[in-house]
Symmetry: none
Subunit: 207 residues, 4 copies
DNA sequence: GATGAATGAGTGTTCATTCAT
DNA sequence: AATGAATGAACACTCATTCAT
């Protein structure tokens, strides 16, 4: 599916609004007003408000697929790979934070039924990649056995999501005064914290 | 603020619906129907739908306050305290998962402005308690210095929240076939994973 | 099902509008405006526009049921019974001409699916009554055999309906200048014409 | 007014839809989709949806005009003429049942104002022809005097129209299982019933 | 001559809330 | 104290039509 310029503009406006006010909390009129188009255009272009959301998912996920394959190829240690993977992961979630937030909500919303196969596929690929890195590390005797690999990804994304959802609170206690400072914190201190946490987990010998 | 029996029933019904379908996705008629009361009761008892949400927050948080004070008193090692704290923490979030989920989204919703002072206060107390434990451990040379204490709590809650939001996905890949199995997994494997992760972080010596 | 005063007022307004402008050609706002009520009342009272129509049918048909049973009991000749039946029949259709017109249309409209069991029942009862009168006449040697009884009723109603649908045309060529004159024509000349027609059919010996 | 091939195709599609779902119940998009043309074509070719209807009337009526003139010329008895006229009449209405059904309702619709002069003209010609046949029969002493000639035509068309509008009901009670059986019934039993009815009326001596 | 894009007005319905009792 | 009736505003969506090309 391909989108024209006007459609993409609508998608971007809608994405921000959905993230800020929720899907149900956003009216098509609001979207139309901000996107500077006629209300009817949304039905015209996407069919319905729900289909607009689906198109949004398609649009965003199509831009997430590839990219990280070459990460594992590089001739670096598993530890470094983990660092790189986490950095890449956090960047991706942060850059796509709107759609992540929207889906985060709609996923847990029993009412809506969106086709999330593409999204699940992305998650599965991530999981497989992570698994291969960890197994490589375990073979080399660097990582401990008995790692619940499936819970690593939610630890990373969950921490970031929670942090971001409570942005005002954390900005306050961490003294982050601008959007720039906040983003900088995520990309440095926060990323390092997560990297350290996961690496610690991997090498930590439980009694 | 105190609530009578009928009000509490409304709060419980509304809590579940808000969690399942979102605040905007739930109509007062729906609540009234399930709670078996007249629609007008909601405005009558709480003033408005928004104030109902605020009352819900007050009601739930008032039941969260105290409790953990005596945790730190016990004559056990900081490591054991961390274990206990995390277990307690996960249990609390899991048992109050509905209100957590609701707040998770309403917090990040620019439209809504709920008074969250009580909630912030709880978070601050948690943070202080965690801080005192970690500092105790650091003094005893058990924990590393340079821990970003503020990011530990979001790591715990974030992981759990994310896990729970993607319940269908994780139930699938982990083979959890019933509600009971799922809850059991959270209380054992998941809890151990988080405990291990945080303890690893605290003792892990970064190069 | 029972209707209160306000509901009946809405039904009457809607009936006239549906008859004049068709179901699809009438908006609920138009009904609300003329009935001097809020638009939301229609959904509130009847559930939807379609259910309003169904209620209208129920309301009108419930007033049609009984009545004619005693017609056949009277100790008069079959010929006189036919006269009485036709007069009664024309009066009933004419007095309920709005709902007849509406149903006439909606019946033949593939889109709509209204529950017409009650209406069908009325038709069947009419048919049975007519049948018994004609058979009585045939037994007495007054009426010819080989009457297609099922086609008598459509001849009567069809003629009246067609006449009424083309009211402007017939008023013109028959010089009926007022509503009163028109109604008077229906009740006298038209009725006599139909009575004569049906009686002729019943006694007419085909070669 | 002349129509090109494409216009005629649109008219035919629209005619069927208008008959099936009513004028207001049919959208131009629906017509365009089925006729496999662009939506804008309808406004482009006909000016508007309403003018499309008017064109349809013009188109259909132009094909109805002549034809029956030679019926009366033939050297047959008035009775036979009546039979022929009714047969011709029923065939014509049946073959043009779509436009008849449409007009049936739009005529009685106060909203719409279609130019029906051509249609009225056809009706007047029919009336005149019928009148001349009956007067011929009366002169020959075959028909009774005191016939309300204007009510004969509505009796014929009305009966057929009513029968057709209630097609499902009559198909049911008459055991007509296919379109073919139905049409056959109209052309034989129904036609004979009407012929018999009208002839009976004409020769019937009222007490 | 013909059409895809776009529009403003209108559709039926649902919303949270208020009012009279 | 409690509620059924009622309301105006808003909802997503569809309509016939127009316009630029």
């Amino acid at each position: 599916m391909e989108f024209n310029e006007k459609q993409i503009e609508i998608l971007l406006v809608a994405e921000q609004l959905f993230a800020e006010e929720g899907f149900d909390g956003t009216s098509v009129r609001e979207i139309a007003k901000i996107a500077n188009i006629n209300v009817a255009m949304i039905s015209y272009y996407f069919g319905s408000k729900e289909k607009l959301l689906e198109s949004m998912v398609v649009y965003r996920i199509s831009g997430m697929k590839l990219q990280l394959e070459n990460l594992i190829q590089e001739n670096i240690t598993p530890i470094e790979k983990i660092d790189k993977l986490i950095e890449f992961y956090i960047k991706r979630v942060y850059n796509n934070r709107c759609i992540y937030q929207i889906l985060h909500f709609e996923l847990s919303n029993k009412k809506r039924e969106i086709n999330l196969d593409a999204f699940t596929q992305v998650k599965n690929e991530n999981l497989k990649l992570l698994e291969s890195i960890i197994k490589e590390g375990q073979l080399q005797g660097l990582f401990q056995p008995n790692i619940t690999i499936e819970l690593i990804s939610p630890t990373i994304i969950g921490a970031l999501t929670h942090f971001h959802m409570n942005k005002p609170y954390f900005s306050e206690i961490l003294g982050l005064k601008s959007e720039q400072e906040y983003e900088n914190y995520v990309m440095t201190t926060f990323t390092k914290h997560i990297q350290k946490t996961i690496k610690a987990l991997l090498v930590y010998e439980d009694k």
